[in-house]
Symmetry: C2
Subunit: 281 residues, 2 copies
């Protein structure tokens, strides 16, 4: 896309990775964060030209695009408070993992001359902070765009161009409701399982006995408790439903095992094998 002036609000792992990728593509990138150290680090590495912890209004006034990389619960309040400083025609996007009511809320109070196009870059690591920023993680990842009736062609085209400049492998458009349903299953349920598996046994010697499978299933049990608590509560109904569907599936397997239904158990294995193969293509 044409070279733009981006302002990243919230310079953590994801915000920093956005800054890195966009700077590499020739855009001008500035940042707002509460940590002076985050701004300094990013400036020294050359992934932003400027940044500020306060007095950042001039950065917002110059930005053609603003990327909100804040914790879910403070994203909408921050926009409400600071939108008065935005340039007319500004494009605003985000990285929030749940879209639900939040996208509607932001679009309901946003200035008429600004557009909010919600996005979810499905990339992350078990660490936080701009110091771990690495835009290479985008190259194998999916980018989800959740337009609403309030979005324009220009806004949606911007989101696609952004995904392209960030280097994502695959881009998909979904409604906010579809997004939250899918994410409740592929992302939130998997985190709930990993956490619960890790917490189900307190044998301190487990590390001596584990194979790759246990390590793979619990990698994401290392989790940012504040961020994921906000994400879980923002999608509470969907996630409870997914937990129930998964539990029913597991208890069906347990029933076949307990009753000696060998054919039934093997049929479950055959089904899961076929389904998982689709992911290898």
């Amino acid at each position: 896309m044409d070279k733009m002036n981006f302002c990243i609000v919230g310079l953590g792992l994801l915000g920093g990775s956005y800054a890195m990728a966009l700077t590499e593509k020739g855009h001008t990138v500035t940042a707002v964060d509460v940590r002076e150290a985050a701004i300094d680090w990013a400036r020294r590495r050359g992934i932003i030209t400027e940044g500020a912890t306060d007095g950042f209004e001039p950065l917002l006034e110059r930005a053609d695009a603003v990327v909100i990389c804040l914790y879910p619960d403070i994203a909408a309040p921050w926009l409400r408070e600071h939108q008065k400083h935005f340039k007319p025609g500004v494009l605003i996007t985000d990285v929030c993992g749940v879209k639900g009511h939040y996208v509607d809320e932001v679009q309901s109070f946003l200035r008429e001359d600004a557009e909010f196009i919600a996005c979810h870059p499905m990339a992350g690591r078990e660490v936080s902070g701009v110091e771990y920023a690495d835009c290479a993680m985008f190259r194998v990842a999916n980018f989800l765009i959740t337009p609403t009736a309030k979005n324009t062609r220009r806004g949606i085209a911007f989101a696609h161009a952004l995904a392209d400049d960030l280097g994502f492998a695959r881009v998909t458009e979904l409604t906010c409701a579809e997004h939250d349903k899918v994410i409740g299953y592929v992302s939130q349920l998997t985190h709930a399982i990993a956490v619960s598996l890790m917490n189900a046994n307190d044998d301190p010697h487990l590390v001596d006995y584990t194979g790759d499978s246990f390590r793979d299933l619990t990698r994401i049990a290392k989790i940012n408790d504040k961020l994921w608590s906000e994400l879980f509560f923002a999608n509470r109904e969907v996630l409870c439903g997914e937990i129930d569907a998964f539990t029913a599936s597991l208890l069906d397997l347990r029933e076949k095992l307990a009753t000696g239904d060998e054919a039934g158990l093997r049929a479950l294995f055959v089904k899961s094998t076929e389904r998982r193969r689709l992911f290898d293509k």
Copy 2:
């Protein structure tokens, strides 16, 4: 250890990987399998010197050590039928993922001049067949030895030397009961979860939306249905108990989510994060 003559019974992924590692260490390795193609492949690659699908008695008669790499349900019957051909003083080991009653059974009918020392190499892949053999997978894996009162110092020392020659990263001795309890949790429960997660949703477009976490949690949902059905039934009581403990842990998380207990939910995340960190050392 001193150079020995090994006979591998069952030349699949694991048997083939044993043959490869032991040949590299200078041992003489022969093999018995039902597939002529498996024998041919291994002989052409030089990972065995000889092999046979029938008329294999001379291979057994010459072997100082026999490694049983058969499906769990046929391991004991095979030993019962063919032990008459073993050399006096032979050391026998296996790769079976459940030890329970099976080790006792084998040791109860085994010839007085032979010793069975049970082992569980915790390595594998989502494919089968000697054609995928690769002893490099042992270098990051755990090797479990489950001696009983019937085992001698010589037998146990052999198992340790074997793990060493195969190149395993870590070796642990456990009782058969401890082994099955641990395996029920770290291996069988994780496979039950992966299968059930994969089967809980039939959206064919999931691949477009998934992140690394879902892929990691379902990698082992591609599963050898015959092998894992036998392993699950052989450890049925333990595995049902582990499924119950895990389900209770997951439903505790669901309860905190449903009732809005933010502090309780975050405490679960903090606990799982601390526990998972132990695995990073």
